[in-house]
């Protein structure tokens, strides 16, 4: 048994008011009467990076979609910055496993798409300066006027980070954003993500399958179990920031990973 319960030093974070407050949330898909989530309670505080990990099909994406206002919960409440989430909101930025850039728009046009949809074309044009700053932030400033067909997978995902950030959302929701990338690119992207979150003071919620990824990025990791989907433990990660990839080889890191692996049990990693 791993006794090394990671220490809780996120105390100062806990005192800020929560950005997200989810209470007694449950979701049953009416179509097949499948209970995807039961009694999920969680709070995410400002500037916190929270990950959720669990076996495939345990309800992570369902939870994320409910948080994003893309799916109504069956019971329970979801509050973002004091207001209930009743539908898609501009203060939520999302990222998916696929970059989903529109091939007929250039990189920069793709990035201002959320603004174009919400506020029209002239507002989108006005956001170009901001989009260029973001492209610079992710190292894509030379690719602003290129069509996505010419971007590599990692570059496309960096562009979709910019699209997520362009409206300056209060909350970032990430559903396995880098899992389609190769391991080296993924490590690099994870470090980029950390840098961007620290630089902007962003609050983020990440769905992932990778234990290493979760531990290296998160302040807290929520461990989920399936059938029905529920959060079984809230693991605080005390590793200092900024994190780097060398930390993966430290004993603390190994202990945390082992601990979570133990929680997940055999089923998730057969």
């Amino acid at each position: 048994m791993v006794e090394a319960q990671p220490q809780t030093d996120g105390q100062q974070i806990q005192q800020t008011p929560p950005v997200y407050e989810i209470e007694r949330l449950s979701k049953t898909y009416a179509r097949n009467n499948l209970v995807a989530l039961t009694d999920v309670n969680l709070r995410i505080h400002q500037r916190e990076f929270v990950s959720i990990i669990g076996s495939s099909g345990c309800g992570k994406s369902t939870l994320l979609k409910i948080m994003a206002g893309l799916l109504p919960p069956t019971t329970g409440s979801v509050m973002l910055e004091g207001r209930p989430v009743l539908g898609p909101r501009p203060d939520i930025g999302m990222m998916f496993q696929q970059a989903t850039l529109l091939p007929w728009k250039t990189t920069i046009e793709n990035i201002v798409l959320p603004i174009e949809i919400r506020e029209g074309r002239s507002a989108a044009k006005a956001a170009y300066t901001r989009a260029k700053e973001l492209l610079e932030l992710v190292g894509l400033k030379d690719f602003a006027n290129v069509y996505p067909g010419e971007l590599s997978g990692g570059m496309a995902q960096r562009a979709s980070i910019c699209r997520m950030l362009v409206a300056d959302p209060a909350m970032l929701l990430l559903d396995e954003p880098f899992s389609a990338l190769d391991e080296l690119t993924r490590d690099f992207m994870n470090m980029e993500l950390q840098r961007i979150c620290l630089e902007r003071g962003a609050t983020a919620f990440l769905v992932t399958h990778s234990l290493d990824e979760a531990v290296i990025l998160s302040d807290r990791i929520l461990v989920m179990k399936p059938r029905p989907g529920r959060i079984v433990e809230d693991v605080k990660i005390g590793l200092p920031r900024p994190r780097n990839l060398e930390m993966i080889n430290t004993p603390e890191f190994g202990q945390i990973v082992a601990h979570i692996r133990g929680l997940l049990g055999q089923e998730a990693y057969q």
Binding site: R89, M94, Q97, W104
Partner: protein, 282 residues
């Protein structure tokens, strides 16, 4: 230190044994095939194995090609006929595109269209549409109208099916992205589903371009009038096979022009998709 792995090439020399015929350039290959086919054709007719009434000699056909070409260039009655057919094809294609696209959006975008309209469309589509020709003639007379109607009728269905399929083509993630951005249904249709569906729609238009030609000519065969189809029928009834051959050849130019206009439009409007010479997707 660099280590070079040497895969022994001593006894397994991989040589591409490409046949000579595969190595000749495209233009040469095409010319070669043309010469062979025409050569056999010439032989068959010259030796009298096939009656010249059934199959004219290449020389006769060529002579007639010049004759018809001359008639077309000098603006005689054949040019009028070609113009009539061109108009028929153009109107037929325009109407088919308008109706096909609208019905396609109805079917692809609304539950009502999918559930109520589509079954009827499928039912009509399975009928032999040429059989409607006498009806169109009865309704619209022997003028260009009945031919346009038949041409449009045949060409509409592939466009409906392609448009509907195109509207379904956006992925789950793309739809979710638009939903998350708070896009209205109209925005999702215009900025996501239609552009995503364009390659499908153009495939439908290419099928329609072939269908509209068939419809126009069939209409002219069955309903007379002043088009190229009527000229062909007339020449055939006089057993003037060289004329039939050359008329068909010129007619095929019209079909090619329409087809490649669609291919050109596809390149222009679906610029993010690579399209090859024949309009197929690479």
């Amino acid at each position: 230190m660099t280590t070079t792995t040497n895969i022994s090439t001593k006894d397994t020399v991989w040589e591409e044994h490409e046949a000579l015929i595969d190595r000749v350039p495209r233009w040469l290959a095409m010319t070669l095939l043309f010469v062979i086919v025409v050569g056999i054709w010439d032989l068959v007719t010259r030796m009298g194995w096939v009656s010249v009434i059934i199959l004219p000699t290449p020389a006769e056909t060529l002579k007639d090609l010049f004759f018809v070409g001359n008639n077309l260039i000098s603006g005689k009655y054949m040019l009028d006929a070609l113009w009539t057919t061109t108009l028929t094809v153009f109107y037929g294609f325009a109407i088919a595109t308008g109706i096909g696209f609208s019905l396609g959006v109805l079917v692809g975008e609304t539950k009502f269209g999918e559930r109520a309209v589509m079954p009827y469309l499928v039912a009509i589509d399975t009928m032999p549409k040429v059989a409607f020709a006498p009806l169109f003639i009865a309704w619209l007379g022997f003028d260009i109208g009945s031919k346009v109607a038949l041409a449009a009728f045949i060409a509409t269905f592939p466009i409906v099916v392609a448009t509907a399929a195109g509207l379904y083509a956006a992925t789950e993630n793309e739809r979710m992205l638009f939903k998350a951005m708070g896009a209205t249904r109209m925005q999702t249709l215009l900025r996501l589903k239609l552009p995503t569906g364009l390659p499908y729609i153009f495939t439908g238009l290419k099928i329609a371009a072939v269908g509209v030609m068939a419809g126009a000519i069939t209409g002219e065969f069955l309903g007379g009038g002043k088009g190229f189809g009527a000229l062909i029928r007339q020449a055939a009834s006089q057993l003037n096979t060289p004329r039939v051959f050359s008329l068909i050849l010129y007619l095929s130019l019209l079909g090619l022009a329409l087809y490649f206009t669609v291919v050109w439009a596809q390149r222009r409007f679906v610029f993010w998709q690579k399209v090859d010479q024949k309009g197929g997707v690479v």
